[in-house]
């Protein structure tokens, strides 16, 4: 499995070379075989005797992070979707993307996504899962922004990135809490210690954080706003990431963790509640769209809401229906996206107001769209897979488990009505998409290009998917025990034996389907009559405005905040840095009882030392008081020579010598420089300026004095100096210990010191020689 996950990533290394021949061979042809191979590798696991498999490779054992890959029914379903749809989409993209596009970029991003997505669904380790999860966000960002010269692409890419990465970080928080509570990092082991988690005080927090991750990724209300903007991506990407696979990662996450939260009533309330709201709102909004891909984007959001709601129901049958619908949605929505891409490609527009009557011009596309759209609408016909899962949805909405909280009971009563409401609009937008494009009056003069049927290669991929729609519709039970039941078992934990039948008899679910079709048809036919309702709801309100407002506010306020202290004055920066050091260090030292003051074990005080000390102080303070620059430099020299004397007192002959030499050269240099700059200005500073300086300076001086006193008042460790004294003669072969330390024990240090001096010397030389062009 490790190999399968990493295979796409390995190929990305070859893409730059392969794309050199893109004029002769389309790069997509090479890429096509990767998902196809992975599909064939995994398809052999389908069968009634399937049992989960675990593979483990060590990665970072000290943190409990290992490359654990776990293949159960749920992973298998997703892996087959990722590789199967991936192969079809790659094939489709060969005809969709012209050779003049940046093919190498596109396929590198796409392969990166494949690895990431396979990793998400196969990881058993939560941290590994998180890593792959963020990688899908990044590759999605890159793919949405593929046409990066467009304003809309960049906006959409940024939006999806911000929202999904926000959710990903929340999810990481949930994972960490789960890790801390259970002590394990494996999802399966976490499910094993479910009692520990359910009895934890952090349960509501864990669930909220985890669901934030799932809801942002799966574009659930109110985070759905990124998905319509993500439609700026090339259509193969929309079909692949933003309908069939990546947006289902949130669904996957909820499904994966639902064994843990199963039986926690708030899980039902939040997941089903948000899911059903998403279903209704997005299907209602889809009818209002004018962009073909916009309709499909909102439709995807609403279908994801429906799956989410079913996972929230938590009953064995509902979970089975959810799994079934994941498969069905991938088939019909994938093909509809590809058809939208074909229309865009052949007519030059996706604006449904300009399209119409394309049936005669594009008969094959129209036929494919007919089946896919009717399946999406859930029309009761025995060869449409969408109908089966829609009817299972209705049936399960009537059979939700027992509830105790009043809000759960209320939700339980409301869900069947909301389900029908959302499905009516699903029907309406399906018809709107289908008939708005393919029937009615032709408006060829409004189209940028004269439309005609797509090349056969472009039609193959959607045709295979539509074939899947019908095949699953005709023989749903072929997939049942061999495939779907395993996936459902992985979620609900129980053996599932559902039998999918077309005719259930005159049961409530059937009446609900009939109501949907009847009202849907009426609403579609008379849509011009009620269209104005969109002016009232949502009117000008929109979550996009909230998002834009937050972004703009952040921009404005951070800019203001930064400008308030970053005003370009280096003096201001120095003052701020030093003040921060004083405050933070002072507080930490005071808070940890770091300041100590002991008077025992001190060296005796002698008059000469004090006198020299006073000289050093006088020299240092004198540089401030001196009005004249030459005077300041000379006084500085006094302080330095004083320090050399102190070194003599304190048994440091080498230091004294060095200090004397260096001080002499420094003063000479300062004077030399001063000599070359005769026009230096007089000092003119106000009292306030001097006061601020003085306060900061005195504060810093006091702090350092206190630290110095504390340092020799406390003895926490034995000094390591004895080692140097003992070994200097034998190991270093020298009696001057300071010298031995410098050239032998810490020889490398000294070597670098020399290097630093060398660099400084070069810099000084070039600074002196360097002249700007206008100057000379």
């Amino acid at each position: 499995m490790l190999f399968a996950v990493l295979l796409p990533l390995v190929l990305t290394l070859l893409i730059p070379f392969l794309s050199k021949f893109k004029d002769k061979v389309h790069t997509g042809i090479f890429v096509f075989f990767i998902p196809l191979g992975i599909f064939i590798f995994f398809v052999r696991f389908i069968g009634e005797g399937f049992s989960p498999e675990l593979e483990s490779y060590p990665w970072i054992p000290s943190l409990g992070i290992s490359l654990d890959f776990y293949l159960d029914g749920l992973s298998l379903l997703f892996v087959l979707l990722i590789s199967g749809i991936g192969a079809l989409v790659t094939f489709y993209s060969i005809f969709y993307l012209h050779k003049s596009e940046k093919l190498a970029h596109f396929y590198v991003y796409l392969l990166l996504f494949m690895t990431a997505m396979l990793g998400v669904v196969l990881s058993d380790n939560v941290y590994l899962l998180y890593t792959f999860w963020e990688l899908t966000s990044i590759s999605s960002f890159l793919l949405i922004g593929y046409w990066n010269h467009r304003e809309g692409s960049r906006y959409g890419a940024m939006k999806s990135m911000l929202i999904t990465v926000f959710g990903g970080l929340s999810m990481l928080g949930a994972f960490m809490l789960l890790h801390v509570i259970t002590g394990v990092t494996s999802v399966q082991q976490m499910i094993g210690s479910v009692d520990l988690i359910l009895s934890s005080d952090y349960l509501p927090l864990i669930m909220t954080l985890l669901l934030l991750g799932a809801f942002t990724k799966s574009a659930q209300f109110p985070f759905h706003i990124w998905l319509p903007d993500a439609m700026e991506a090339p259509t193969p990407v929309s079909a692949y990431l933003h309908s069939a696979t990546m947006v289902k990662a949130g669904i996957f996450l909820v499904a994966r963790f639902s064994p843990i939260f199963h039986g926690y009533e708030w899980f039902f309330i939040v997941v089903s509640g948000i899911g059903i709201i998403t279903l209704c709102w997005a299907s209602y909004m889809a009818v209002r769209q004018t962009d073909l891909k916009g309709i499909l984007a909102f439709s995807t959001v609403s279908q994801l809401g429906m799956i989410m709601a079913m996972l929230g129901f938590g009953t064995e049958a509902a979970v089975f229906a959810a799994v079934f619908h994941i498969l069905n949605h991938a088939t019909f929505k994938g093909s509809l996206f590809m058809i939208a891409g074909i229309i865009d490609h052949e007519s030059g527009t996706r604006d449904i107001r300009k399209l119409g009557g394309l049936m005669t011009l594009m008969p094959i596309s129209a036929t494919l769209a007919l089946f896919a759209a009717l399946s999406m609408a859930g029309v009761p016909l025995p060869f449409l897979n969408g109908f089966y899962s829609k009817e299972l949805f209705f049936e399960n909405s009537l059979h939700i488990g027992d509830t105790t909280l009043w809000i759960a009971s209320f939700l339980k009563q409301a869900i069947p009505y909301l389900a029908v409401f959302g499905s009516i609009f699903t029907f309406v937008y399906s018809m709107y998409f289908l008939f708005g494009t393919f029937t009615g009056k032709q408006k060829l003069e409004q189209l940028p290009k004269k439309p005609h049927e797509a090349p056969i290669g472009m039609l193959i991929a959607p045709a295979i998917l539509v074939f899947g729609v019908i095949f699953i519709g005709l023989f749903p039970n072929l997939f049942n025990e061999t495939f779907l039941a395993h996936a459902a078992k992985a979620i609900s934990g129980e053996d599932t034996h559902e039998h999918i039948v077309y005719w259930h008899g005159l049961k409530p679910a059937f009446y609900m389907s009939l109501i949907v079709v009847a009202f849907g048809t009426l609403l579609y036919l008379f849509r011009k009559k009620w269209w104005s309702i969109y002016r009232a709801i949502p009117g000008s309100l929109s979550f996009n405005r909230v998002y834009n407002g937050i972004l703009k506010g952040l921009d404005v306020y951070t800019a203001k905040l930064t400008k308030s202290y970053m005003n370009g004055s280096l003096r201001r920066y120095t003052a701020l840095i030093v003040s921060t050091i004083i405050i933070v260090t002072g507080l930490v030292m005071a808070g940890t009882n770091g300041f100590t003051f002991k008077t025992d074990d001190l060296a005796p005080v002698t008059i000469p030392e004090i006198l020299v000390g006073i000289m050093v102080i006088a020299g240092a303070v004198g540089t401030i008081l001196a009005k004249n620059n030459v005077a300041a430099i000379i006084i500085l020299g006094v302080s330095g020579y004083g320090q050399a004397l102190l070194f003599v007192f304190y048994r440091a002959p080498d230091l004294a010598l060095t200090q004397l030499v260096i001080e002499t050269i420094t003063v000479a240099l300062l004077l030399l420089c001063f000599h070359h700059l005769p026009q230096l200005s007089r000092r003119t500073e106000g009292a306030g300026f001097r006061l601020t300086n003085a306060v900061i300076a005195v504060g810093f001086g006091t702090l350092m004095t206190l630290i110095g006193i504390s340092a020799h008042s406390s003895k926490w460790f034995t000094a390591i100096s004895d080692y140097f004294l003992e070994t200097s003669h034998d190991l270093g072969g020298g009696d001057n210990v300071v010298n031995v330390i410098l050239v032998d024990m810490r020889g490398l240090d000294t070597l670098f010191e020399i290097t630093v001096l060398g660099i400084a010397a070069f810099s000084i030389y070039s600074l002196i020689k360097l002249r700007s062009k206008e100057g000379e």
């Binding site: 000390g613 080498d654 230091l655 004095t705 000094a719």
Partner: protein, 112 residues
């Protein structure tokens, strides 16, 4: 004596910081020199003062002053000399190019 010397080092730090906060380039250079002097005294004081003979090994002497702070300070003196010279030349060139040695006027571009 250690306490007195800590105070001396503290005053050197204060004087150094005060100079560092001045507007004139030359004063800033002077500030860094004083600051490093302060640091040297600070390190030396932390290792206790006037204990034993200078750290040059001799027969019959068993007590020596702590050699480690001395080695560190020696490195530091030389490095701070390099720093001072570079700063000096840099400020000399900056003043020459911009015709001012007032830091408040050297603020870079608005686009930064």
């Amino acid at each position: 004596m250690e306490i007195i010397m800590s105070v001396v080092a503290g005053i050197l730090f204060a004087a150094g910081i005060y100079n560092l906060l001045q507007k004139q380039l030359l004063r800033i250079v002077i500030g860094t020199v004083i600051l490093s002097n302060g640091a040297h005294l600070f390190i030396l004081t932390m290792g206790k003062l006037k204990r034993g003979a200078p750290p040059v090994l001799e027969y019959g002497v068993s007590e020596y002053a702590d050699p480690l702070p001395q080695a560190l300070i020696l490195t530091s003196i030389v490095i701070s000399f390099g720093l001072t010279s570079l700063l000096l030349v840099l400020s000399y060139r900056a003043a020459q190019e911009n015709n001012t040695d007032n830091m408040e006027k050297l603020r870079g571009n608005h686009d930064e």
